[in-house]
């Protein structure tokens, strides 16, 4: 029964030959977390938004993020590179579409070619071997994460939308200048417009980080993370998901799910989990009046 379930899950997880990409476990014992440790993040794809109801009956909007073949491609270390980091790759790609230099890079790591590569700076005790697959259970329900992604492009926009300028009055004699910048500087001194003056221009498409989003649900079969709230960017966007930087130590997750899987979740532990795990909001019932 268990083997049937795990083979079903393995088949669902990758869609490819799951056996050839078995989890690469660390040769040594998993390192122990200290308050100075920094785990790796993952690359996920924003799939869309939906809603769920928590245990108090409150409706919570959630963004669905999916991990697609998220693996460690390179380990950067202090001696060679000057800092410790993991280069994570996401989403397999057909080899015929990959340039030879990149193909060499992936062959050195022994992983399939990836669509997106990002670096995550980690502490030396959180280093994972090349080829390790990162799964949704790397995060636990109830913990806080930061999500970074390029924002949706808005095209060429005026100063009112782009920088929140006030514009000019709609009436009282204002002629043809309702949404313009207004003044751009002083007079003879300095006699120029300063560099970086906020003006109309292309808006959107730059990286934004939304901090401290709560992980409401984890799906182990489809490798999904449901985060509360919105995440920048369009659907199918590559999103960098990391443990929240402003909630270090004991504040990152409820006490009974700590410590977080360090350096990442063990494959046996994932197999033992049910498919879906939902975080409770906790606290007091918001619909009960406080005495």
């Amino acid at each position: 029964m268990a083997s049937l379930l795990s083979s079903v899950r393995a088949g669902l997880r990758t869609g490819l030959n799951a056996e050839c990409r078995s989890f690469v476990t660390a040769a040594t014992q998993p390192a122990t977390w200290t308050h100075k440790s920094l785990r790796t993040g993952v690359i996920a794809r924003k799939k869309g938004m939906t809603a769920m109801w928590d245990e108090w009956g409150v409706r919570i909007p959630v963004t669905v993020l999916q991990l697609e073949q998220c693996q460690v491609v390179q380990v950067l270390n202090e001696e060679t590179h000057g800092y410790t980091a993991l280069q994570i790759g996401s989403t397999d790609r057909t080899p015929k579409n990959v340039t030879q230099p990149m193909m060499g890079h992936f062959n050195k790591a022994g992983v399939e070619p990836k669509r997106k590569l990002f670096e995550f700076e980690v502490t030396p005790d959180a280093v994972l071997p090349v080829g390790t697959e990162l799964v949704a259970s790397h995060f636990v329900p109830g913990q806080f994460v930061d999500c970074s992604a390029p924002t949706m492009g808005k095209g060429f926009q005026g100063a009112m939308k782009r920088h929140g300028f006030g514009g000019q009055p709609a009436t009282h004699g204002t002629s043809l200048t309702h949404r313009s910048l207004g003044s751009t500087g002083q007079r003879k001194d300095p006699g120029k417009v300063f560099k970086g003056k906020k003006m109309a221009g292309r808006m959107g498409g730059n990286q934004a980080t939304v901090q401290s989003l709560k992980v409401m649900k984890i799906d182990n079969d489809l490798n999904l993370i449901y985060v509360k709230g919105a995440v920048p960017g369009v659907d199918e966007q590559f999103v960098k998901v990391r443990d929240a930087i402003k909630k270090r130590g004991d504040k990152i997750a409820p006490a009974d799910v700590l410590p977080l899987p360090f350096p990442t979740i063990q494959p046996e532990a994932v197999k033992a989990m049910p498919r879906e795990l939902v975080a409770k909001t906790g606290g007091a019932d918001p619909y009960v009046m406080k005495e």
Binding site: W53, R59, A269
Partner: protein, 190 residues
């Protein structure tokens, strides 16, 4: 017509049932959900023929609509709600206690949005028009009962009733009748 029992407790399913206790599994780690984590009703995912978002929306509808409330929005079901019906909606005040609130009114709008399906009920209470919008799959909704079928309403959205109510909101007699019928039923079953 139908009342739904609160299924929150029933949705917590045991994890250990998934793994038969064999010698091989005895060595493997088992997962015990901590207090801050719920294990909802589990389904087997099947992405064939539909995208990821469609699949998870369907699963959530199955989970939240386990008490059969989807039939209220299913046109081919005889118990489907129709605009113009007089409905009685019973909602839990909170998930901690069993106290409920009741609202009776005319169903003036139904929005079919999958998991986010909702309907609007309107009544005139103490000379003040009140509209209540309910999310169909909200766990706070205990029951939705049709007190009287609407007749002669030829629109999907009855927003015109805000300006031209006619006799649509003369519901006191109906409520009285229904209360008496409920009391009789309770006395019979007791």
């Amino acid at each position: 017509m139908f009342s739904f029992t609160r299924t929150l407790g029933a949705r917590l399913s045991g994890v250990t049932a998934r793994f038969a206790s064999t010698a091989a599994n005895a060595a493997k780690p088992t997962y015990k959900a901590p207090a801050s984590v719920t294990v909802p009703t589990q389904f087997k995912p099947n992405t064939k023929g539909q995208g990821l978002m469609q699949l998870i929306a369907k699963e959530e509808v199955k989970r939240m609509g386990a008490d059969g409330r989807s039939k209220l929005f299913n046109k081919s079901h005889p118990d489907c709600l129709r605009p113009g019906d007089v409905v009685l909606v019973e909602t839990l005040n909170s998930m901690s206690a069993d106290k409920t609130s009741t609202f009776v009114g005319v169903l003036i709008a139904m929005d079919r949005r999958g998991l986010h399906s909702n309907f609007t009920v309107r009544n005139v209470v103490l000379k003040v028009g009140v509209e209540m919008k309910y999310m169909l799959y909200s766990p706070m909704i205990k029951s939705v009962r049709i007190m009287k079928r609407g007749e002669g309403f030829r629109r999907a959205k009855l927003f015109y009733l805000r300006d031209n109510p006619g006799r649509a909101f003369r519901l006191e007699g109906l409520v009285k009748q229904d209360k008496a019928a409920q009391a009789k039923k309770a006395a019979k079953s007791a």
